[in-house]
């Protein structure tokens, strides 16, 4: 374990370069660059605002802001998980030809999306203070903790799915479909407290629920998240990471011959 960490550390430059390379490749030669990564969430918000606020008349006040809180971390989660799921298979040539700690690859995939998310988060902050005129509150500082837990959770799932995809290529398609379903099972476009109790149990357990609910608590309701939510988020992050790490390290030596 310790020597693995040490060798991971020795290859930190590679991690940095993989993330930077992906960012460069994504925005090089594009005129609007980073603005494009805002296009997707903004469009979703426009469509959902229209559909729910003006057609279905959802009672939630300041609905666009509410949507923004949940959608941005969701896009981070979905993109990171999709990329991590295929990352080992997509980098087969690298894995077959040179040795480096394999863990770098899924971590780089999640980190790349994390950095993109941070950029959109800056836009979110600007929108919150300038457009929606929300006053800063103390609970907002807790956002960072939950974002950290969400990232650890995503890395854990990413490692698990990346290994799984090497042995069952179907997992990629499965994840795509599953993410569509999970989007509706996560309280992003509706308020969790407004759900009937029976649905609350189901929705509350969905993978991203504790994180998204916590974001809404700190930004929308200006509350400190209840202890149960802390516990759930920590549990999700620790279990996913531990399982992902164990499975990943168990199969990492076989990757060069299986991809």
């Amino acid at each position: 374990m310790l020597s693995r960490l040490r060798s991971f550390w020795r290859y930190r430059e590679l991690l940095k370069n993989l993330v930077l390379m992906n960012l460069k490749l994504k925005y090089r030669d594009s005129v609007f660059g980073f603005l494009w990564s805002l296009a997707n969430p903004l469009l979703l918000i426009a469509v959902y605002s229209l559909a729910f606020k003006y057609i279905l008349k959802v009672p939630t006040p300041n609905y666009a802001f509410f949507l923004l809180i949940g959608i941005l971390p969701w896009v981070f989660f979905a993109n990171a998980l999709t990329m991590a799921t295929g990352c080992i298979v997509d980098n087969a040539n690298l894995i077959k030809k040179v040795f480096f700690p394999r863990l770098i690859i899924p971590v780089a995939a999640v980190l790349f999306n994390f950095i993109q998310y941070l950029l959109t988060f800056l836009v979110f902050l600007a929108a919150m203070f300038l457009l929606f005129r929300i006053a800063p509150t103390w609970p907002m500082l807790l956002f960072g903790v939950f974002l950290g837990l969400q990232t650890i959770f995503t890395v854990g799932l990413g490692m698990l799915l990346a290994i799984g995809t090497v042995f069952f290529r179907d997992i990629r398609h499965f994840v795509e479909v599953l993410l569509l379903l999970l989007f509706w099972l996560t309280p992003i476009i509706y308020e969790y407290p407004a759900l009937p109790a029976s649905l609350q149990a189901l929705v509350g357990l969905s993978p991203l629920a504790p994180f998204v609910i916590a974001y809404q608590q700190v930004f929308y309701y200006a509350h400190i998240p209840p202890p149960a939510l802390w516990l759930q988020a920590c549990l999700y992050a620790v279990v996913a990471f531990a399982a992902g790490y164990a499975v990943f390290q168990r199969y990492a030596p076989r990757l060069a011959e299986e991809v």
Binding site: Y11, F99, F168
Partner: protein, 435 residues
């Protein structure tokens, strides 16, 4: 770090599971439970068996063997890419392993040359500072100064490779693993690569190199290992091991590195080696005969003799513009000549039925050794072989007084002339040796 040994393999074996009818998808696995036809069949294949090996610090080890003998698998195990199924491998902590299993690993076509150097070097575990340090040398070695800010997609494949080698050559590893990568590139670049290898050796880098070029192995390595079907069959001096290798390839006997003249002569009359043969048919080479100056068949020639290879062919149908070719290899695989009628400007209109064609060497100025001859008939473009008989004939060259060359490969008509200002002109001697 233990002094003396850089790596040690103990009874290392590696098996792969060959999956016929491989199914990576869940569906085929599920269907496979019910239908035998869709079930994947697994077969265990041992790529390496009980390989024990010890490489001393600063040693250069060559790995030879036929295709599929396990050389690359062994190299990948040393590199840490594959893990042994059985046995274990010890590499002291802190030895940086540089692998040149493929050049330009991780290069991305959309990134510039500079960015690719940084990316590729970091894949091999270098830190930013270290890469900054080697960067100027990499650029200079690759001779791509003007192209470093150009995306790699605009590079020619030669430039791509040069950059790949330049990066690999500057990783400054303690243990360098090379897989056949020196075989690529033009001659100039190959020469540069070999010089770089010599430089590594001089610096005390331990090198393990896989190559099919026995000349390379002999010139670079102190020790060679021969792998066959995953087993280590010989370890020793490169010249001895390459002899073993040829025995394996051609089924020949004796040590080709040092053959007494008498043995060469007696073995010259032996059956030809079991070479290979391929072609599309239509015309075939039925037989090749070697004739001396008097036109008598023989298998033994004196150095400097007239040599005729008479190729007997049979064309079942008219063949327009055929090209005949011959190749002579020394017993150890070194290619001596490879003439053909097209390159020699000797066009042949058409052949039909049986006939012969002679390849005549006026003076066989090659050193004492056993040689293998290949003969082939190709189409006009030299692409499609009608019949290609690879190294299926053999002859030997014995020493003669007419050819004083003892140490090299060929004898070139030449003479000596001493020029000295302090020597009277009549003393300056000339020793001639011309045929």
């Amino acid at each position: 770090m233990r002094v003396g040994k850089v790596l040690e393999l103990t009874k290392v074996s590696k098996s792969f599971v060959l999956r016929h009818n491989r199914s990576d998808s869940l569906k085929s696995r599920v269907v496979g439970i019910f239908h035998k036809r869709y079930r994947e069949e697994r077969e265990t294949f041992w790529a390496l068996r009980d390989v024990s090996l010890c490489v001393a610090a600063g040693e250069t080890l060559g790995l030879v063997g036929r295709n599929g003998s396990g050389k690359t698998t062994l190299l990948k195990i040393l590199a840490g890419i594959l893990h042994p199924t059985q046995g274990h491998l010890v590499i002291p902590q802190g030895v940086r392993i540089g692998s040149m299993i493929e050049l330009g690993v991780g290069f991305h076509p959309e990134l510039t040359g500079r960015e690719n150097v940084y990316l590729s070097a970091s894949i091999h575990g270098l830190q930013k500072k270290e890469i900054d340090g080697i960067y100027p040398d990499v650029v200079e070695f690759s001779e791509l100064q003007r192209f470093m800010d150009v995306p790699l997609k605009n590079y020619s494949s030669g430039m791509h490779m040069r950059l790949g080698f330049a990066v690999a050559a500057h990783l400054n590893p303690g243990l360098l693993l090379i897989d056949e990568v020196l075989a690529v590139g033009d001659e100039d670049f190959q020469g540069k690569c070999i010089r770089k290898m010599e430089e590594f050796k001089a610096r005390g880098t331990t090198i393990v190199i896989v190559s099919h070029s026995l000349d390379l192995i002999r010139s670079l390595c102190e020790t060679a290992c021969l792998l066959d079907n995953g087993r280590l069959v010989a370890v020793g001096l490169p010249s001895d091991v390459s002899g073993e290798y040829h025995r394996l390839l051609y089924g020949a006997r004796g040590d080709p590195a040092r053959i007494p003249a008498t043995e060469v002569e007696s073995r010259g009359a032996e059956e030809p080696p079991a070479g290979s043969r391929w072609g599309v048919g239509g015309a075939e080479i039925t037989h090749v005969e070697f004739l001396d100056a008097a036109g008598n068949p023989t298998r033994i020639f004196g150095a400097g003799d007239r040599f005729i290879a008479r190729i007997f062919y049979r064309a079942a149908r008219p063949i327009r513009n055929p090209v005949f070719g011959v190749a002579i290899h020394r017993e150890d695989g070194l290619w001596i000549v490879g003439p053909n009628t097209k390159a020699w400007g000797y066009p042949i209109d058409e052949i039909i039925g049986e006939g012969t064609i002679d390849y005549v060497i006026d003076s066989l100025l090659i050193a004492r050794a056993r040689y293998f001859v290949s003969a082939a008939i190709y189409d006009h473009a030299c692409v499609t072989p009608y019949d290609h008989r690879e190294r299926q004939y053999a002859f030997s060259v014995a020493e003669t007084s007419r050819v004083p060359e003892r140490h090299g490969l060929v004898h070139l008509p030449s003479h000596w002339k001493l020029n000295s200002a302090r020597t009277a002109p009549h003393v300056a001697g000339q020793v001639r040796s011309d045929m």
